[in-house]
């Protein structure tokens, strides 16, 4: 699958947006403007960017506690995302959800999720909707290596396989679940081998090279759209930051982090590729960077200027009022 200039630049722009969003969010967190917890996606950008490039607004995703990247790649509004982090009324969840529950149902994002593995069966349900409607919509479920050891993973993959549902399981193996290295949590080296147990294809992918994530996701999504059923993609990737802000990271070395950052950074690799194949120049990419910076700052401004979340209106915020709207 050769990637054209527009697609390449868009992949780069999305990755860059995610990276800068996270840096800015971390800054706001450091300034005590963000409450609670945020989980940084930096390092994993090629996964969300490569996958979502194939998704339409009417396709669904389920995301994780580390969900900002998935959300941005699914074309979310940056202002509404920042506003949510800042607990503002204009946020995606009106300040009710925060980082771990950002959803954008208008774009098919069924939500970040604070329960590891919790989104996997939900994506299967969305895929069931697609199938019942005889549409060619698909659902993507993102989850981590840690999520792949939850019972929900097992049950969901099996359900999708037996009913040949249009769902793509994207396991982002970033080598750790909080502090637990994959080598301690798995007795297999390649998580993708688990797919065989459900009778579906499983593919191990270099998650740092957006060409690879784009290509593998493209195939799996096309397969799902054709009604040929689910695929498990295991994207080998890495998170640069601690699991949480202030994580002492006793479980890994600085060298390890540096090696990934310098040799396998998805943005650097993408720049090399794009410039190397003359799809665009360094200057073109710098212009994209500048555009991204501006969009991020505009998002932050929108969020900062917005009013605080309004008081809860109960019970209607908890219970949908009245009878079915239909």
């Amino acid at each position: 699958m050769s990637i054209d200039r527009d697609t390449a630049l868009e992949l780069y722009r999305v990755m860059r947006t995610i990276r800068v969003f996270e840096q800015r969010a971390e800054q706001l967190f450091g300034e005590n403007k963000i409450w609670g917890t945020i989980h940084n996606y930096s390092g994993q950008e090629a996964v969300a960017a490569g996958v979502s490039a194939h998704l339409r607004d009417d396709d669904w995703i389920t995301s994780t506690h580390r969900g900002h990247g998935h959300c941005i790649a699914k074309r979310a509004d940056l202002g509404k995302m920042f506003a949510e982090l800042l607990g503002k009324e204009t946020g995606y969840c009106r300040g009710r959800g925060g980082s771990m529950h950002i959803a954008d149902t208008s774009k098919g994002n069924l939500g970040a999720n604070g329960i590891v593995g919790g989104g996997i069966p939900i994506a299967v349900g969305a895929a069931l909707s697609a199938k019942q409607a005889k549409s060619d919509r698909v659902a993507v479920s993102y989850f981590g290596d840690g999520g792949a050891n939850q019972g929900a993973f097992h049950e969901a993959l099996n359900l999708a396989a037996i009913w040949r549902l249009p769902v793509i399981f994207v396991c982002e193996n970033n080598q750790y679940a909080e502090t637990n290295p994959v080598k301690d949590a798995f007795a297999v080296d390649d998580i993708a081998v688990r797919a065989a147990g459900y009778g579906m294809p499983g593919v191990r992918v270099n998650g740092q090279d957006v060409r690879e994530t784009y290509r593998s996701a493209g195939e799996a999504i096309a397969r799902a759209r054709r009604g040929e059923g689910p695929t498990l993609l295991v994207m080998e990737t890495y998170r640069y930051g601690g699991h949480y802000f202030g994580d002492p990271q006793v479980y890994r070395t600085k060298d390890e982090i540096e090696a990934w950052r310098t040799k396998r950074d998805p943005l650097l690799l993408a720049r090399e590729w794009i410039v190397g194949e003359r799809l665009a120049s360094e200057a073109d990419l710098d212009r994209i960077d500048a555009g991204v910076d501006a969009a991020i700052e505009e998002g932050v401004r929108f969020a900062e200027r917005s009013a605080l979340a309004t008081p809860l209106e109960l019970p209607d915020e908890v219970y949908a009022p009245g009878e079915a709207s239909r």
């Binding site: 969840c93 300040g95 329960i115 919790g118 049950e155 009878e323």
Partner: protein
């Protein structure tokens, strides 16, 4: 739509299980987005034959047998509900709720709120509970208190065939996740059920018997027992009012308070163990809201604090029987 038909529409005697199937059929005909899935519900018609015949009418796309994966099934239902379907899931025994509780509580119940109103989760989780069939401790529990304590869930527990039909229809039309708990020993009870469209709104208690000496509040099979007990009490000169709350959430507090203001005595009866049971909520609510109307302490009669034993005589000894209700009522009102 007939809401609590006044001039009684045409009815037919049905089993409770049959009436539930009737509601499913009614709603599936009305709305193509209603789909049903669960273990052994297709060809076999479900462990209690509630879905018998549905496969034939609606086909295998809408009546789906699942593997034994309770968490996955309920999670799938959440995803389906978020994306336009109206799934009705059968969880074979409420005792298996512990396997699905995460999806029920962290996802279904909370999605609407957490997403700032962006979502609705029109999902019905049908299940059944209670003792009395010798199924022992892992197939006989009463767990309504768990789900009633969760913001975002509604909880329904019908005691008659007519309510089974009407409440299930209402649950399916509701845009919120509804936990619909049947009772294994009610499936083969009979009653008149409206044959036409029948919907009983959630949140409206049913006064099964008017009376002035005490108020007995109950639900599910114990509501049936309470009616029987009231008849025995009447013979002994005690005039009990019996209220079947039918839905625990929303709870028809007014119906209960109105009755207690008249009778001045409250007895709540349920099968679940007493400690932390939903009877505590009702007794505490009445004590709080109608303290000055009470002439006696609000009483609870409920299951003993034990898992359900297997042997028949032991099983009966741990949940309130008709005579236990009679005895408790006499103590309270006598």
């Amino acid at each position: 739509m007939t809401v609590q038909a006044r001039a009684p529409a045409a009815t037919r005697e049905m089993f409770y299980a049959e009436a539930l199937g009737d509601a499913l059929r009614q709603e599936m005909r009305r709305d193509p987005n209603v789909i049903v899935f669960g273990e052994d519900i297709a060809e076999h018609g479900g462990a209690f034959q509630v879905t018998a015949g549905l496969l034939k009418e609606f086909g295998k796309e809408r009546i789906r047998n699942t593997p034994i994966s309770e968490n996955g099934i309920v999670g799938m239902a959440v995803g389906a509900a978020l994306t336009g379907l109206r799934p009705v899931v059968e969880l074979m025994y409420v005792d298996f709720m512990g396997l699905a509780m995460d999806q029920v509580v962290n996802q279904a119940a909370q999605n609407r709120f957490m997403f700032g109103g962006q979502a609705r989760v029109p999902l019905v989780l049908r299940t059944q509970g209670g003792s009395g069939r010798g199924n022992a401790a892992q197939h006989s529990k009463s767990l309504e208190a768990w789900v009633a304590h969760v913001a975002g869930l509604k909880v329904v527990m019908p005691s008659t065939p007519a309510d089974a039909k009407g409440l299930l229809a209402a649950a399916i039309r509701d845009d919120n996740p509804v936990i619909f708990i049947e009772h294994k020993l009610l499936y083969r009870t009979k009653g008149e059920v409206p044959t036409a469209e029948h919907v009983v709104p959630l949140g409206v208690a049913d006064v099964k018997r008017a009376g002035k000496d005490l108020t007995i509040v109950s639900w599910s099979r114990e509501a049936v027992f309470a009616v029987e007990a009231a008849a025995k009490l009447a013979e002994q000169g005690i005039d009990a009012e019996v209220i079947d709350v039918r839905t625990l959430v929303p709870l028809d507090r007014e119906a209960i308070l109105r009755s207690v203001r008249k009778s001045h005595r409250l007895l709540v009866v349920h099968e679940a163990i007493k400690r932390g049971g939903y009877g505590a909520e009702i007794a505490a609510m009445v004590a709080e809201e109608a303290f000055d109307d009470l002439d006696a302490p609000p009483k609870r009669l409920a299951g003993l604090e034990t898992p359900i034993p297997y042997a028949q005589h032991l099983e009966k000894s741990v949940v309130p029987q008709v005579d236990d209700i009679v005895r408790a009522a006499k103590e309270l009102a006598g």
